[in-house]
């Protein structure tokens, strides 16, 4: 757990920062071919590229920071006046920090006052950076304790995580706990927005990759089932969601696939607590998924894959795609 926690903080080693800046230089030089991208297109491209780095082994915290930094550099800035690498890095780190703080509040790791104090602290440093170009340059050279005060300006370089600091980086208890709304009111409001992240998943490791086993129609086509080798909850209170990509292969040819995505919570496993996890789509389904049953006679097989996402939104890599040349479900 402690290892996960340190990954989530923004204490950055010089080596990490150096590699980030290098990747920025490379990515931005490539990006010139894509200057006509829309914001959304740019985000999709960058996300896909960073996702590939993540799948290749980049730690998630680093990948998320690269993602935010590249967004700032390649997507969010004004092409006529692109941000410097240092500015992009600062903005990326700050957005990552805001996200982390929100996440920590949702996970009951911060109360409303601490959260507000930290947000204001980071925003205050953003204001300082906006008016002092050297600030972001120094920040890019290192911020070992992750308080958004560059090491070169930091008189208290060992500040612990989640500390509100003075401009020179020392803990500032006077402004650390501002007046804030009642915790219960914020959490109650959040619940109505259905931001349903499971606190038990805080700092949980990424789930293992589930393995596809079988899929297909039951006899009489009363349901369509998907079976996988399940992954363990870690910790036990942290639910797992199984996300499937399923492309039904039809006799109409490759230009007419029926593609659907499905998500199931592990508690929907119809096979009980042991053995393969089996999820069911009933034939009474409505909406576009009903074509899974209407067109059943046309399907000759399926291409599919699965991944696990925990209750904090941390996903495993996808399984490899499997091709199943029949649509009859055989109980595994």
């Amino acid at each position: 757990v402690s290892g996960q926690r340190s990954q989530r903080s923004l204490a950055l080693s010089a080596a990490t920062i150096a590699s980030l800046i290098t990747s920025l230089v490379v990515s931005f030089s490539v990006k010139t071919a894509a200057e006509t991208e829309t914001l959304i297109q740019c985000a999709e491209r960058v996300r896909g590229e960073v996702r590939a780095q993540l799948d290749a082994g980049m730690p998630q915290a680093e990948a998320d920071l690269v993602l935010q930094t590249r967004f700032a550099k390649e997507c969010l800035g004004d092409p006529a006046d692109p941000p410097s690498n240092a500015t992009a890095f600062f903005v990326g780190a700050l957005n990552r920090e805001y996200h982390r703080l929100a996440y920590m509040f949702v996970m009951h790791k911060l109360n409303s006052s601490s959260y507000l104090g930290l947000v204001r602290d980071r925003s205050g440093k953003m204001k300082r950076a906006r008016h002092d170009a050297t600030y972001v340059d120094m920040f890019a050279q290192g911020d070992a304790d992750g308080d958004f005060v560059p090491d070169r300006l930091d008189r208290c370089p060992g500040t612990k995580v989640n500390a509100v600091t003075t401009p020179d980086g020392c803990p500032d208890p006077k402004i650390a706990g501002p007046k804030a709304p009642a915790d219960r009111d914020v959490r109650r409001a959040l619940s109505y927005y259905r931001l349903d992240v499971t606190p038990a998943c805080y700092d949980a490791p990424p789930p293992d990759v589930p393995q596809p086993l079988r899929l297909g129609y039951t006899s009489g086509r009363t349901a369509f089932k998907l079976a996988v080798v399940p992954v363990e909850r870690d910790p036990e209170e942290c639910p797992i969601y199984y996300e499937f990509n399923v492309t039904m292969v039809s006799m109409l040819g490759p230009g007419n696939p029926v593609y659907r995505g499905y998500v199931f919570k592990d508690s929907e496993n119809t096979n009980g607590g042991s053995g393969p996890a089996v999820f069911e789509i009933p034939s009474t389904i409505d909406g576009a998924s009903k074509y899974l049953f209407i067109l059943a006679d046309l399907f000759t097989g399926a291409q599919w894959r699965v991944r696990a996402v925990n209750g904090a939104g941390v996903a495993s890599p996808w399984s490899t795609y499997e091709f199943q040349p029949t649509t009859v479900f055989a109980q595994p």
């Binding site: 914001l39 959304i40 996300r47 780095q53 998630q60 690269v66 993602l67 969010l76 800035g77 004004d78 006046d81 957005n95 805001y98 996200h99 929100a102 996440y103 507000l116 947000v119 204001r120 953003m126 204001k127 906006r130 501002p178 007046k179 804030a180 709304p181 009642a182 009111d185 914020v186 109650r188 409001a189 959040l190 109505y192 927005y193 259905r194 931001l195 349903d196 992240v197 990424p206 969601y241 996300e243 990509n245 593609y259 995505g261 499905y262 998500v263 199931f264 919570k265 929907e268 069911e280 009933p282 389904i285 409505d286 909406g287 576009a288 998924s289 996402v309 904090a312 939104g313 996903a315």
Partner: protein, 581 residues
């Protein structure tokens, strides 16, 4: 822009319609965009005073302007030192009345600025002469439907002089206008509509969801439990439903299913999410409709606009919730698609007010929704004002008129989407007939618009109450008018300009000070700031509204704010024509 009566942006229900005041219901049913937009908005940034309140306040201001020169002293408004407690007559009162008369003539002779189609020609029609209520004028365009009923009736599309002001139409005939003898002068209603309509500048704000994680969805929803059959929709639901009003309806969920069904086959789900995320509409247009008067400083303007980190009488539960949701989902402004940053950053305003320190595209897009400071509503006023002052169509005055309405909305001058924002404004719409004294304080009765048609007998309690209140508005307008004239005298280079940014800021300052002092003395629950009621609103809209609608002295306290807004509106309407001459 075409507008649908039912759709994904706004969801109306019988329950919500039951919460509407009946005085507004008739036109709401016809005006689907109005109905659905503000009754279904979430506690997100939201509209300011509801559309009908905006419109009604401007109409009230105009009717008071007319009544100031009513030929019959029984129905005329103005200071009367002979009445016990009556105000003395200011020395230049007759000049004030003359200016009022000129302003009424000016506005009534303006073209409506409304769109037209073959069903009911509107363009080019003078406000006063507007022959019929143009049906669905807000959505005019090729193929727009035209309904058969084009006759005026009580309370239709906001025309409601109300109470003693109905005599403006019964007695006051102005032979200077062709068609004299008509009973109705719709100028106030049209101006009010133009003011309210600013809430439908949906393109001012477009948000998108910046992916927050390279790994996964970032946010996982518990929808999946009851939604196995629409699993792809489940993936989209967090992004579509996040800021929608979730009250047990399934519309949002249905919409997310539709989004899932429309997903591009073959793409990874996660890759689709950013493209799904365009957020605009009534929940977001209002981020430009705030001006924080609580002592916060701003890097970019004289006063900050919407800024969650420093909102309200203190950051409230909804303010913080929105900040957290914004950071959890990556909700961010899409600069290219949003008109707001281009319209409301004011350079070279030329009115002596501090201009905007203009931000770049990067500045607007770098940070997520909750960490931006948006432009204040006085800039919105100036944007429209400068267009109109330089010869633009009548519709442009909607901007300053709208801003003046927002400037007397407590939550807009405190800068909070929470602290009871929605329930307060919904309650004021419900209680409008009591606030403007068409119904006696403390009396029962329905909120049906028919009440507006009742003309109280001279000498009756209601007559006296109305006359005293409307006169107090007029006297306050005199003060604002005087302030504008003094500004002109001290800015000789500006001719007869109207300092709309200063004016909106001044009105907001007054409204803020009044709101805070009332709040400080109101005890628990507070008025007009009640943070818990915004949270309650999420679960039980009606109960939250009641905390205001049934609050002791709610209407009398609101009346003071409306007085301020209507008075400033009168002063603006008096002074604006001089700036164009």
């Amino acid at each position: 822009m075409s507008v649908r009566c039912e759709g994904s942006q706004h969801r109306g229900t019988a329950e919500k319609r039951r919460n509407m005041p009946r005085w507004a219901r008739v036109r709401r049913i016809a005006a689907c965009v109005t109905v659905l937009a503000f009754t279904c908005s979430s506690v997100a940034p939201a509209l300011a005073y509801n559309f009908n309140t905006h419109q009604a306040m401007v109409d009230l201001a105009y009717q008071i302007m007319r009544a100031a020169n009513h030929p019959d002293p029984v129905w005329r408004l103005g200071p009367n030192p002979l009445v016990p407690g009556g105000a003395s007559v200011p020395p230049d009162w007759s000049e004030f009345l003359s200016d009022l008369s000129n302003a009424v003539l000016f506005w009534a002779s303006q073209e409506t600025g409304l769109p037209s189609d073959s069903c009911a020609p509107v363009a080019g029609t003078l406000m006063r002469e507007l022959p019929v209520a143009p049906t669905e004028w807000w959505s005019r365009g090729p193929g727009s439907p035209c309904m058969d009923d084009k006759t005026f009736g009580p309370g239709e599309w906001g025309y409601a002089p109300g109470g003693i002001l109905n005599h403006n139409d019964v007695v006051f005939m102005d032979p200077a206008f062709p068609g004299a003898g008509r009973f109705r002068d719709h100028t106030g209603a049209v101006l009010g509509w133009l003011g309210g309509n600013i809430d439908y500048n949906f393109d001012d704000t477009h948000m998108w969801y910046k992916p927050q994680s390279a790994a996964g969805l970032g946010v996982v929803k518990d929808f999946v439990d009851d939604a196995v059959d629409f699993a792809l929709g489940a993936v989209f639901a967090p992004f579509i439903c996040m800021f929608d009003w979730v009250d047990g309806e399934i519309d949002c969920w249905e919409d997310s299913k539709n989004a899932g069904d429309a997903a591009n086959p073959g793409d990874d789900l996660e890759a689709l999410i950013p493209g799904v995320g365009d957020e605009s509409g009534s929940d977001w247009v209002g981020v430009w409709h705030y001006i924080q008067m609580g002592g916060q400083t701003d890097e970019f303007d004289d006063r900050p606009g919407y800024s969650l980190e420093d909102s309200g009488p203190g950051v409230g539960a909804i303010d913080m919730t929105l900040m957290i949701l914004g950071d959890a989902t990556g909700l961010s402004l899409n600069y290219d698609d949003s008109d707001g940053p281009k319209k409301y950053q004011i350079s070279n305003g030329g009115d002596g007010h501090r201009d905007t320190d203009v931000r770049s595209k990067s500045d607007w897009q770098f940070l997520t929704f909750g960490h931006l400071t948006y432009e204040p509503v006085d800039n919105l006023a100036h944007y429209g004002w400068s267009q109109w002052r330089n010869g633009g169509a009548t519709g442009w005055v909607g901007y300053p008129l709208h801003a003046l309405g927002d400037a007397v909305a407590p939550h807009h001058v405190a800068g909070s989407p929470g602290w009871g924002h929605r329930p307060y404004e919904d309650a004021q719409e419900q209680r409008w007939l009591w606030t403007r004294l068409v119904r006696e304080p403390g009396s029962g009765g329905s909120d049906d618009s028919a009440a507006l048609q009742t003309v109280p007998a001279p000498g009756s309690n209601l007559y006296n109450l109305q006359k005293a209140y409307y006169t107090s508005v007029l006297l306050r307008a005199y003060e604002y008018r005087k302030w504008i004239k003094e500004w002109r005298a001290s800015h000789p280079g500006n001719g007869n300009d109207v300092p709309v940014r200063d004016l909106v800021t001044l009105v907001a300052k007054n409204a803020y000070e009044y709101s805070m002092s009332t709040y400080a003395s109101s005890g628990v629950p507070g008025w007009p700031f009640n943070d818990t009621s915004s949270v309650v609103y999420l679960a039980d809209e009606g109960a939250a509204i009641k905390t205001y609608a049934q609050y002791p002295n709610n209407e009398s306290m609101t009346r003071e704010l409306i007085k301020e807004g209507a008075a400033a509106t009168i002063a603006f309407l008096m002074s604006a024509p001089e700036a164009r001459q």
